[in-house]
Assembly symmetry: C2
Homo-oligomer: 530 residues x 2
């Protein structure tokens, strides 16, 4: 690995700590309620007996035993993962210098396979404040089967771990709760502690103001979107259809919209509420393009959340029918579709039709996630415009996908500091043997020094739901709240943004310079905690 | 327009000036030779009579007349365009405060249509050091026909312009020379002066070390590539096939390779030299993937220059045949192809086949530039790997295109300062009535203060070539020199980069912080002027 100058400078960066964490050895727990009610779950009966929330208060310093902690990165990257590990390391060493940290390799299968590397000061020195998950890798394996649970138990027992810290999204934290419950049943003393990670911003609740990585991802995407908007306005030639990573929820798209003020932003949750059809969405975009064209503007920027496709019922039905027909080995599928799906299919260009028919996953299913919505919409809008008598403009469009580059970017100062604090709190929770709790750092719109800390019982975030025919415990993804201040702010301005060119260009993330620049936080956090 | 905080801070940035430009009113020309020989051109006989190069020396201050200058942005965006205009404005005001600047709107058609806006201090105050060309817009119209030449003359006469500054790439500067020659013939007193603009980095010679915009573009792309490499290394799941904007030449790909050290970088010029076939390219990539897979690495990063397609003879032949057949109205084109082209066509997936057959330009031609090489290569590599007995890995790939976001980004400090100096020199050339000259700023690897300035006669850069059946004057695009220090440096390390994971993560462009960070220049400049 060859470090760039910026990386070298970032290694020297010292994240500020919340005041409450400054004397970590003086902290004592206060067991209490969380802001939402608790629903005890039979499937997690041991965890359900625990308090819903732990806060902390400073008292006299006390001695702490050395902690042996294992840590794992689960799922997709999010900027700041290395700083969670650094925070964990520094905190457990402050509690007791004989503490040890083990990083499980390449995600949860590192736990079941007992593959790890010891995390040392020297090793960490090359990763502090840097992006990616490459210190120990990540992976998407789920610990699900009885064998996997047993293997995980064997590993944590063999390593005599006081704690296992799982850094992950909704699925991984559900998994953390199940593992915590299992260890309790097995009298295995390892405390399982979660940390809220995902760029998607959909792992939030009354105690988790944001998941880490969201801030850096939206800033990276907003840099790109801003540049592209400037390109649109300079060349006055293209419509840019920009798809944004972010899974089902439209948090990233909404925040990027606030940052860059594009001409249109589709919000999946709004489409679902209005029950908009694909045709309605396409006509909505075409209306905007026609209006702009009449004002001499044949260019613009449209943001499309990755998850939008799940919110369009016709597409879902079409895919379902295609899957069934293909599974039955039907050759001439086009003629076997229902009328509605046949209509939907006929709207698509040959390219998309063949993508749906030929591009299938190992089970033979159409791959929804591979459908390139930005291209699909361009295709349909082109056709819709061709059918309009009142449109005289020139429609030329470019599809763009903002994705992987936002997951592994250098963490913004916000994420670097937030993660460092989350790691500290995770160490505290392990020290308390608070198994089944997730690390919380709150009051994030305030200066770092004023941030508050706590731990929330994962049980209070979990509900039982039917998934793929089975009742399963899940942490529901938080979707965009259409009654939030943020959505109102967006709604208030979007008509103006559609008609005029009010693009905003945030530029690249800055790590040096005035604090109001380097410490800037997203509107999501500002509005969530205001 | 809503300015972001970073933009507001950039507006206050003061580009440093080369020492020689500090007292611009004291500069006197020295007419002399340029480093390459001069070939007088009959088509540009008046320009051919002029000296090939003008350098400058400081003497006593002298009075200057007020200058009336028109400026136009021609072609695709490149970061720093606004600073050329700012430099031009500030320099002509320093020469004489009564000078005036007019910006022609939306490219060269602003000249022929006589559409402009006056550039004032107040107007410029909102664009200094910012990206994009939105102050006056840009466009791709060429001034070609006798009517267009006449219209341009009428405009510059009506505005009584002392100078017309054309900020553009190879085509636009060829056009500038033709217009300069025409004005000389017509006894029109307006001096036409060029400024070397293009992110592609292909408008260079012994006097033009780099075109502006290249530095900012490669830094923006390298940020993204670095992030994606970190993602590859963290998830260990995907091969990223990243196509980079940059037209025919592979300068951007080569520089980005030096910045980010990916596993493989295709260089069009090398492929052309070796006469590699598409199959050979695909096998080369597959070899690398096999070797890495044997070492447990089923992930990686491959850079693909946009222009690569032009360097693959088979693809060119196939496209030619398809065009001819489609023009003849042949329905069943597949069966009418030559054997070689039929083989090439059969290598492609149905998706690409239909793209070639259905996605045509207004003249009915296959659109070469729209062929998504990154996807084509993924498709072919997938097939090639499936046919290998020795490959046991899992090949999963993601296509990525780094394009428009690199053209309209905030200019790096280098581009901000380079452009500001180029604008100053353009004003000096107008003041000298040095028509047909292009603004040169040299010694760019040295600190700004030591940069040198001059003007080069465009005639010395032009040769007569057959293009679309006609002999035309052209400025040849400079391609990657396979015998340059830079290419040797790349060649020396690429095997190591292929096998190991030596990715480098430059991170986002920084505008604040230590000078070695904010003033960093590309390897291209470092090696070109060392």
């Amino acid at each position: 690995m060859t470090q760039s100058l910026l990386e070298k400078l970032r290694l020297e960066y010292q994240p500020r700590l919340p005041k409450v964490l400054e004397n970590i050895e003086t902290l004592r727990p206060i067991f209490g309620k969380c802001k939402e009610c608790v629903v005890p779950l039979e499937a997690l009966s041991n965890l359900s007996k625990k308090d819903p929330f732990i806060s902390f208060t400073n008292q006299e310093p006390k001695e702490h035993r050395p902690l042996r902690i294992g840590v794992v990165l689960s799922g997709g990257q999010a900027a700041g993962g290395h700083n969670v590990i650094a925070g964990l390391y520094d905190a457990q060493k402050k509690l007791n210098p004989d503490s040890e940290l083990f990083g499980f390799l390449n995600g949860p299968k590192g736990i079941t396979d007992n593959k790890y590397r010891e995390i040392t000061q020297e090793l960490l020195a090359a990763y502090r404040n840097l992006g990616g998950f490459d210190l120990i890798g990540s992976g998407r394996t789920k610990i699900e089967t009885p064998e996997q649970f047993k293997a995980a138990e064997a590993t944590v027992r063999a390593l005599r771990l006081d704690g296992l810290v799982i850094i992950g999204g909704d699925d991984s934290n559900t998994n953390a709760a199940l593992l915590a419950e299992y260890f309790l049943v097995q009298n295995c003393p390892t405390a399982v502690v979660g940390v809220p990670k995902t760029i998607d911003g959909d792992l939030t609740n009354s105690d988790i103001e944001i998941s880490f990585g969201f801030d850096s991802a939206v800033k990276t995407y907003s840099e790109i979107i801003g540049n592209i908007a400037r390109d649109a306005l300079s060349a006055k030639k293209y419509y840019y259809f920009i798809k944004l990573m972010g899974r089902s929820a439209s948090h990233i798209a909404l925040e990027c919209a606030m940052q860059t003020q594009p001409n249109m932003t589709l919000i999946g949750e709004e489409i679902a509420l209005k029950k908009d059809t694909l045709t309605q969405i396409v006509e909505g975009i075409s209306d905007m393009i026609c209006t702009r064209s009449k004002n001499g503007k044949d260019y613009g920027v449209i943001l499309i959340p990755e998850g939008i496709i799940e919110f369009i019922p016709e597409i879902n039905q079409l895919i379902q029918e295609l899957n069934d027909l293909l599974a039955q080995g039907v050759k001439d599928v086009k003629n076997k579709l229902t009328q509605a799906s046949e209509h939907c299919f006929s709207m698509l260009s040959p390219e998309f039709q063949s993508q749906l028919l030929f591009d299938r996953d190992p089970h033979g299913n159409v791959q929804v996630s591979k459908i390139e919505t930005e291209r699909l919409l361009i295709d349909l809008v082109k056709k819709a415009l061709a059918n309009r008598n009142d449109y005289k403009g020139k429609f030329s469009a470019q599809p763009i996908f903002c994705g992987y580059e936002g997951r592994s970017c250098l963490p913004s100062n916000f994420d670097a500091q937030y993660c460092y604090a989350l790691g500290h709190v995770a160490a505290l929770l392990v020290d308390l043997q608070a198994t089944g709790f997730i690390s919380c750092v709150q009051n994030l719109a305030a200066p770092v020094e004023e941030w508050q800390i706590g731990g929330r019982n994962l049980v209070t975030m979990i509900s039982m739901e039917k998934r793929q025919g089975k009742i399963k415990p899940v942490i529901q993804k938080s979707l965009v709240n259409l009654k939030s201040k943020q959505f109102f702010a967006f709604q208030k301005d979007r008509q103006k943004w559609a008609e005029q060119d009010l693009y905003r260009y945030p530029g690249p993330i800055q790590f040096f310079g005035p604090p109001e620049l380097t410490e800037a936080i997203t509107f999501t956090i500002q509005l969530a905690s205001s």
